[in-house]
Symmetry: D2
Subunit: 342 residues, 4 copies
């Protein structure tokens, strides 16, 4: 029998993406959808593209009978997420898509997110949800913290290079370009079509973006010493996709080899032939990652370009992949949908 | 065992869309991909978003062993299509996506397409591929002619109204807006991003678009008397989607009822609540159709808005749906993917 | 000396467009900019693209010394506009860009806008601002009411045909497609990039859009009997531009001739060669209008396609054109900027 | 009397942009337009947005009477440009927009462009057209070589920092994002709307883009020693605009000061308040440049973001600015048009 799934925070983009993926997932079934501010509405009202699915109407979190639920996805904003998860049954399996359980260190959390953590004990229990690198921990976890979408992209790029010891750890630059859906379904002036379409800009320049907290934690842990990267996010006038252009110091061929070894058996990660680089177009709407390496004309320097879909592999697809592991389902189940092009 | 499928003309957008859909279709398997001009190339070169699928390389049509093939999709340009299909084994099941076998009347074909038909005898054998209205014929057919994408959209709108006798047959206007992928992967100045993005225009104004041939044939046959519609296509600065705004004379409630009856059991067609109208966003990347009706303030007039994805339901999705019938597979198999939004 | 100009409501898109046009207008100078909600801010903060202009900071309306002002543009939302204009000096020349003084009949105003008019006496004084058809009245006016952008587009299309008596007045359909900037800089979910880009939809279907009030008033007055049109607005995923596809019954050649006569001396309106139709791309960022006519294959029916820039000719450009007349400046001054393409 | 202008290569995007700017330039008048492949056509056919200007029809180059011409803009592809310019009268003032006269060293030219230079003697005469840095030379020049659009953007960013000696010359990274119009009106698959819109990718990764020839020449000359930068171009899914995110090593405040000093009197270049960074939206359709600086959290590193319009300041606007100097006209004449937003 299919696993019974609840989605808390079903009215945002990551919630809708979860529903999209689960709708054709043979091992999961949506049992409850919560969105406190829109409780009582049908999903056809909130997301007409889900009209044909016969989904349950939206309810409030406390209307869900969690006794019938095998796993809950929590797709709420950070801070709200910790407050809701804190009060859920302690035996319920949870994949959280917010930032609330990503950082091990409470001070780091407060530094990047501006508020003290209200469920600090649960952080100890949470497993960081970058599937390809925490597979065993995730399989055994009760609470998994999904990564930031930029953070996932940067880590797919840099982790194998740290592990292989092929780059200078003090000279890492991640020039990141993220689609507007990364900012969620929020009413902000800079997210309006008229403000965004036909334009392009950087933001959070100079090392202020919150996903740096994840980079610092993960890269330093992996390297066994403090690692700080430079990271500049940009807002792309497209709806889905992240492209990360990384500048590193190291041999390009050694870097290529490090990726080929690290990702040889990964079903979702393609390392392109040396010298080719990817487009966000080629992973849109899918759980796939494309990574390409080129050597610079300046010896000892390389450029790595990484593309994934921020809503899918960068968020909801990753969440399903982790849930598959936690529920004993095949890891790729429900996630082999082909990118949509054009 | 999965049915063995060949795709002839695999390097165009409808070819790529067929591959996308078949890749997750449990009852079909791609056995051969032909594209004469790109024979020898891998699909990863031609369409990097298909890189992970382990597809066969492109070959020429005559390199395919059709003895091993259960069904061939032919996604070639019109005129080329009839020449290729003419020479295929006479027992091979074929779904043609071109315009070549849509028109029953050879003179009509020549009038709209400008060249005499070179496989005129096969036209008699071909079944018109508008699944919802030719289901039994398609199930029994050897050769099915996929409809034009605009033609499908207009027919989903108008056929139930002709059948129900609820509109004036001499006063039908179809104001059609189609995404750029409808024009295929062709190198034309007006299809460049710089010429199309941020702009909008009509074309083939005044009754000159070829899909009128299909409208004339089908509506007249259905009505039992000549019916001519007005049809203005426009080029939308989006990649997928058709929206048809239809102006008809008749009672809006009777029109709503006609749709609800005609489509009550159709798995892919949603009739919206009266007064609501759809967006192309809500069907993008899927085989679904949304239809909405509103009455005008002028009594006796109604507006119907219909949305579908031109590449999927308007072309390759329809083709798979027909192939499912021809191969004895469940009609909806491989086609329940949820629209991609945002 | 250049005329001293105040702009009330300078923080919206039409306000910004007024500033853009006046900045290179030799006969006008910006003396004051008001925006109550953003008073105290610099224009560089509100609109960084105006950074280099050395503009006055935003103030509240009551901080403006109107004794120094030759003409004020009022670019506020309807209802607010009438309340502000009511209290301005009675000798001040004003071009209002809102809907508040467009409708002669107070009941019609209340019917379409939902609130009673609070400055009903001023309506009598106001002149309807469709320059090409009210030139003398505007020249002599103190208060000019700018038209709706859709209303302008529809009237450029239909007025010459009513005047020439070449179409059936009971069979007029305006299928209108308007860019997102027509909705202003407002925080609405459906105006977000992720909701709008790559999609397309109709809205206010069935004769409920407010600009119908203008069509009814103007067409009926011109025809000397009630005229009601069908009008369906659509939201285009572009930032600027309106395209109106009109379906009329009449001789296409007579229609072409009617336009050529009506617009022979108009500096901003181009009638295309018969059979050609325009794109919004070709008028973007300009005060120009392109109109093209084609006959349908059904005798006695014609299609007219009209394109203009909703923010410029449809709103702020029209306002400048009217202000030129009111201030005794050459009508085209400051408005001959060439469309931006691509 | 207005200077008489010829444009050779008037059918490309930079040709159209020259016409757009000259149309409202009080000191210039278009006397002749050449485009060999489209000779005989009207500009209304080639560019309908120029329809109202009453321009001369397109002719071949040899049909132009250069005795009547004060200055010619040459907007041809490289290689063709040198062959045409070689045969023009030796006294004619010329602004070339191609790459043909940018590189002083013939070997460098051949290395980056793949063909030997056929007018090698004229290269000695040519002045590099980066107005703000070669103003006096340009004023006295007969032949000015317009810069590459990426090359201009990178130089506006890096030159003041080299001059001020505030950065490490061996650690310069230019992550450049350019609009599709930078590739011209050319029929290439990757420039189609369906291939580009909604996607994003890098190209010429690893130090292979031709504009590196300009960077090498100019930065090395300025520094008095070889300087090589890293430069990765990306293709933005927008029609106009370049954004360059530069990573440099040096003090952020010193960098800010270097810009403020270098550009204090420049009419077209705005240095933003420290910590703010620009958007391409804010310079679109204009000759303005916005530059913003932020310090990284890693001490001694800074990020500079620079935005300009590739077709205007990056190409045709720069060309007009240079022509103004060469013709004794005010440098800013015809170039003060305000950016188009939204």
């Amino acid at each position: 029998m299919a696993k019974q799934i609840a989605i808390i925070g079903a009215s945002g983009y990551t919630g809708a993406e979860l529903i999209r993926l689960i709708a054709t997932h043979p091992g999961m079934e949506i049992a409850a959808l919560a969105a406190n501010s829109k409780a009582g509405q049908s999903m056809a009202q909130v997301y007409p593209h889900l009209r044909h699915l016969g989904l349950p109407d939206l309810v409030t979190v406390d209307q869900i009978d969690f006794g019938q639920i095998d796993l809950a996805f929590c797709a709420l904003p950070h801070k709200t997420s910790q407050e809701v998860i804190r009060d859920l049954p302690k035996t319920l399996k949870i994949v959280d898509l917010s930032a609330d359980f990503r950082l091990r260190d409470a001070d780091e959390y407060e530094k990047w997110y501006g508020n003290p953590h209200s469920a600090i004990k649960m952080q100890a229990e949470a497993v960081y949800g970058l599937t390809e690198f925490y597979r065993d921990d995730i399989t055994a976890a009760r609470l998994v913290a999904g990564t930031g979408c930029n953070a996932a992209t940067g880590q797919f790029t840099i982790r194998p290079l740290i592990e292989a010891g092929v780059i200078d750890l003090d000279e890492i630059i991640l020039d990141m370009k993220c689609a507007v859906s990364g900012a969620g379904r929020s009413l902000k002036e800079n997210l309006l079509h008229a403000e965004l379409s036909e334009g392009y800009n950087a933001y959070a320049v100079g090392g202020t973006h919150r996903h740096l907290g994840e980079f610092d934690q993960e890269f330093s842990k992996l390297a066994g010493r403090p690692v700080q990267v430079q990271f500049t996010p940009h807002l792309l006038p497209v709806n889905r996709g992240i492209l990360c252009t990384s500048y590193v110091k190291g041999g390009a061929q050694a870097i290529q080899k490090a990726y080929e070894m690290a990702y040889a058996d990964e079903p979702f990660i393609s390392v392109l032939p040396f010298g080719e680089t990817p487009s966000t177009h080629h992973v849109r709407g899918s759980n796939f990652v494309h990574i390409g390496v080129a050597g610079d004309r300046i010896p000892g320097r390389a450029i790595v370009v990484t593309a994934l879909d921020n809503l899918c592999k960068g968020s909801s697809g990753q969440a399903i992949q982790n849930a598959n592991l936690m529920l004993g389902l095949p890891e790729t189940e429900g996630l082999m949908g082909v990118p949509l092009f054009p």
